[in-house]
Subunit: 587 residues, 2 copies
């Protein structure tokens, strides 16, 4: 089912609803509500909200009107207007007037979409660039889901309108399926679980979008870093560390400034120079590459760093860990020759698949953005042969590794093809994990070189990759994916040790000591409370193992283990249990 271009637009005026817009990205639809005069009496009948602020209690009424519009199956017809006509039609609507200003300024055509009834009467007309469905009946099954304040044109200094979100589907079953997923997602909400499991916090005096990892969350952060370090070592990466700031001139050289300035934090003025917080690690890594002379023997040269970057996001766009201002990225840059590129790229994909397996990510897709010939020398660096070769190498590698992917024309980065990695959580929600880029332009801007076999100076290609994404996004995803019940190697606390009575505490303590010996993570719940209550407490915290030790266990050096979410217990040798805690993915 591909309904990406569905769209029905309405604009209500008078003292009531202004915009009634279906957004283009399936399955989400959204509506904006505002104020203004309206025209067609039949169309707006029974649809008066008086002066009250729209809330989700109005959803029934809005859905009823939407259903009426869908059932009427109005034809949707595109019409073109001159500036004069348009200004006359929407003269009472200051928002539309502003849109017309913009269209005229850009020298574009003013178009509107009409809803036309069987008799050919225009029941509704709204200015819009389209595209739309052919008729309103095609909308199918829909449901309004939530509403939020939304500044006009995203500008905080402008009036706040009300945006209504909804979803649309082909049939009732698909809607039900979606509703179930969303219910599940709500239970697994990373913000809710992050709080319940003491994983991270935000603080008003520190600033929005700047997560602080609490001890439990920091365990996950460090376990992911260990996994990355071990894996990258095996793949021959070298690790580096770079500072979080740099002079403006570094970003002028890389080309991030001035174009990317809106996404960066504002500069600090120091010693008559501007310094910026880094929004990406590549310029620093390029400098590390350049710090020592390189020969072809040094390539591929792979630099890895969990690099902490800062990006400006509008405060309204911030969302838990998924949309933040400070992000710690599983970054690396691979400098190689064009001959080495295919094999290096393949190894990057291999690493992704290795991680997917570890995290039980079964559904994933690579979106492979390519250049377009027409853009060479304009949108794209003018290296037609290199583009062709690189893109064919990428395609070959993806095919060889049997990775699902789609090719997209004319969406590459300026300096090379781009791969967006999409993954789906266990409940079927889609996440964008990371973007990998192939770069055959920026190394030259940094004057990066290597001496080839024949003694000539050459410029390496650079692969930017981040398979474990950022800690923020990855852990946000994993919280939902695991519903907070992390696998043993990632769990902040791996085992709750529960002595049946105080007589067994000494044994529990020695067990705790044994666990700490190999940096295992356990907590002892002393026998002050009932065993039942302690087991429930351990399960509430989603600790993988509740370990009960009583008379029998003490006598025979055993433990009785209840796994998280299970009802039955298993008694085993203490040493076997200790081994369970040391299991590490990929080993």
């Amino acid at each position: 089912m591909d309904k990406e271009d569905i769209g029905v637009r309405r604009r209500h005026t008078g003292s009531h609803i202004m915009t009634f817009a279906v957004k283009m990205t399936f399955p989400e639809i959204d509506l904006k509500l505002g104020v203004g005069p309206w025209t067609d009496t039949e169309f707006y009948q029974d649809f008066d909200f008086g002066d009250h602020k729209i809330s989700d209690s109005d959803f029934k009424k809005i859905e009823k009107k939407m259903r009426w519009i869908v059932n009427k199956d109005f034809k949707v017809k595109k019409e073109l207007f001159s500036e004069k006509e348009a200004r006359e039609i929407w003269k009472d609507d200051p928002y539309k007037c502003e849109l017309i200003d913009g269209i005229v300024e850009r020298g574009e055509q003013i178009s509107a979409y009409d809803f036309v009834d069987d008799s050919g009467n225009v029941k509704y007309r709204d200015i819009c660039a389209g595209p739309h469905l052919e008729s309103t009946g095609q909308l199918g099954v829909f449901k309004l889901t939530r509403l939020a304040g939304s500044y006009w044109r995203g500008d905080e200094t402008r009036p706040m309108l009300t945006r209504i979100y909804g979803v649309a589907f082909e049939n009732e079953d698909k809607l039900k399926e979606y509703e179930h997923m969303m219910e599940e997602a709500m239970k697994r909400d990373h913000r809710k679980l992050g709080k319940e499991l003491d994983l991270f916090t935000f603080d008003e005096e520190v600033g929005p979008g700047l997560p602080l990892w609490l001890p439990n969350g920091a365990v996950i952060v460090e376990q992911l870093e260990k996994l990355a370090k071990d894996t990258e070592e095996r793949y021959g990466y070298k690790r580096v560390r770079s500072p979080h700031i740099a002079k403006e001139k570094l970003y002028l050289r890389s080309g991030h400034l001035p174009y990317y300035a809106d996404s960066m934090f504002p500069p600090m003025e120091l010693d008559n120079e501007k310094y910026y917080l880094k929004a990406m690690n590549c310029p620093h890594h390029h400098k590390i590459y350049a710090a020592t002379p390189k020969s072809y023997r040094d390539l591929p040269f792979r630099l890895a760093e969990y690099g902490h970057c800062y990006r400006y996001e509008d405060s309204g766009a911030l969302f838990g860990l998924m949309r933040v201002r400070s992000l710690c990225m599983n970054d690396a840059h691979i400098y190689c020759t064009s001959e080495q590129f295919e094999s290096e790229f393949q190894k990057v994909i291999e690493m992704y698949l290795f991680y997917f397996k570890i995290f039980g990510i079964e559904k994933y897709k690579m979106r492979f953005s390519k250049h377009a010939k027409e853009g060479l020398g304009k949108k794209y660096v003018n290296e037609p042969e290199l583009w062709k070769q690189m893109e064919s190498d990428v395609r070959e590698a993806l095919n060889k590794m049997d990775v699902p992917f789609e090719e997209v024309e004319d969406e590459a980065a300026f300096y090379g093809p781009k791969i967006d990695v999409q993954i789906w959580s266990v409940i079927g929600r889609e996440f964008t994990l990371a973007t990998n880029q192939l770069d055959f332009a920026v190394p030259a801007r940094f004057d990066l070189k290597y001496i080839d076999k024949d003694g000539s100076e050459k410029i390496p290609i650079c692969i930017h990759r981040a398979p474990l994404s950022t800690h923020e996004r990855m852990i946000g995803f994993l919280i939902e994916h695991y519903a907070g019940a992390f696998p043993v190697w990632l769990a902040p606390v791996q085992a709750a040790l529960l002595p049946v009575a105080s007589a067994h505490e000494k044994y529990a303590e020695s067990l705790l000591h044994d666990i700490k010996e190999f940096s295992g993570r356990a907590e002892l719940y002393s026998a002050e409370e009932t065993l039942g209550k302690r087991i429930r407490g351990s399960q509430m915290k989603k600790i993988p193992y509740s370990v009960i030790v009583g008379e029998n266990e003490v006598k025979s050096n055993l433990v009785t283990v209840r796994k998280y979410g299970e009802e039955k217990d298993e008694t085993m040798d203490k040493d076997d249990f200790l081994k369970l805690l040391q299991k590490y993915p990929g080993e």
Copy 2:
């Protein structure tokens, strides 16, 4: 020998030398040279530099004059002057006039020191607050060492004067000893070795004082972090992660702003708020403490983070890794009750001693700064009983642990006593490793609490500690301490694998594979070059083990090992050698 208050001051005028000052900190003396008129003919005889820029080739001439002054043994006499008198005496010297402005503004007394000959003639007079030696003859043995440009009053917009550094000693032997140490220190200069061993780099476009750790340096960084993590885990610390920025209001609350503003980077303006790069980790950690409710059962609550801070240092003051603008600190904050304080403090000292042993630091001293009663409620938080108890606890702990320390009155921080840890490198150079602080004021400002046994709310005490200092300072120290020949567990490359001929490369490759299996660090030098040349190369890079494998080794699963700096080889079982690489301190 304690000559901390030695000082001889001279000011040369005319077109030549202006200041001839012995700085107060033994054994370093420094002199500033400038321009101005002078007075006493005998005093300045044979001491004309014409118009040329003073350089170290002038040291002989200056030392000769200094020796003459020392031999004359002029009495040094303090005199007081009225503003009018002073302005008249120094009317031709704009620098002194500016000093007089400052003294008058502060309402202080204007004093000068005279050099008086046996007949009571004032040979030289300079404005100065003192103190000075009683006579110039007391200076003893001295030597000028280097010179540097120095802005007048440290202000980059003011004229640059020339500062001459020197050292002074009781006798020739001590000077010789010092010269030997400095020669050794020059060979061990961390900037020189850092470059030769590819440990770190600075880049003009990134910015001064912002080290980038190259792969070899990053190994040391990560090994230190592993040591800290293991050690801190054993001591019951919890690890956290915090962002590198925060709103101004966080630092207003902590009290760092506005007082500490000069040492912080300038703010970034965002969403109508000011954000600062963090210059210390404590405020973020306090917020993490406050994020979840605490009871007495949670204390001591120990939060650890290798936290990356940014501090503004004048660009002229930057010096390799020792004086930087970005520093990654082995930070932790221990929140405890006042009853727990002594034992917690003792454990901190214990951790220091554990690290000293690992690094072979044999000479160290703790400088214990205490409050003064008169300052209570002014310079010091007004908790007389708590001060007394804490200081006595600190003294007791230091005594119990048999740690050398000195007590200093009236130099504590506002919020509690302070311990500066001094260490000496193997060649006898002193380094300030870290400052630990006990804090019984700031937790209240952050509204930090715990519920005590009796249900009442109490405020914890906080211990700030950083036994491994910052990566920058620690590694700067370790480079000098080890002369770049790091112990096996820290060495960026632990072993150079040297097959005698190409026939033995396969064996060397399997050895490399075995080493990488346990994250060991080795490099294979292929047999293209002579064995002798490769051994020399390995020694140049100060790699702990050069491992030679030839016919005999391949046949019997052996390796022949030459340790760094040694002449003789040792043949051993391959597995025994692998064990050598896995040795880890504290195990």
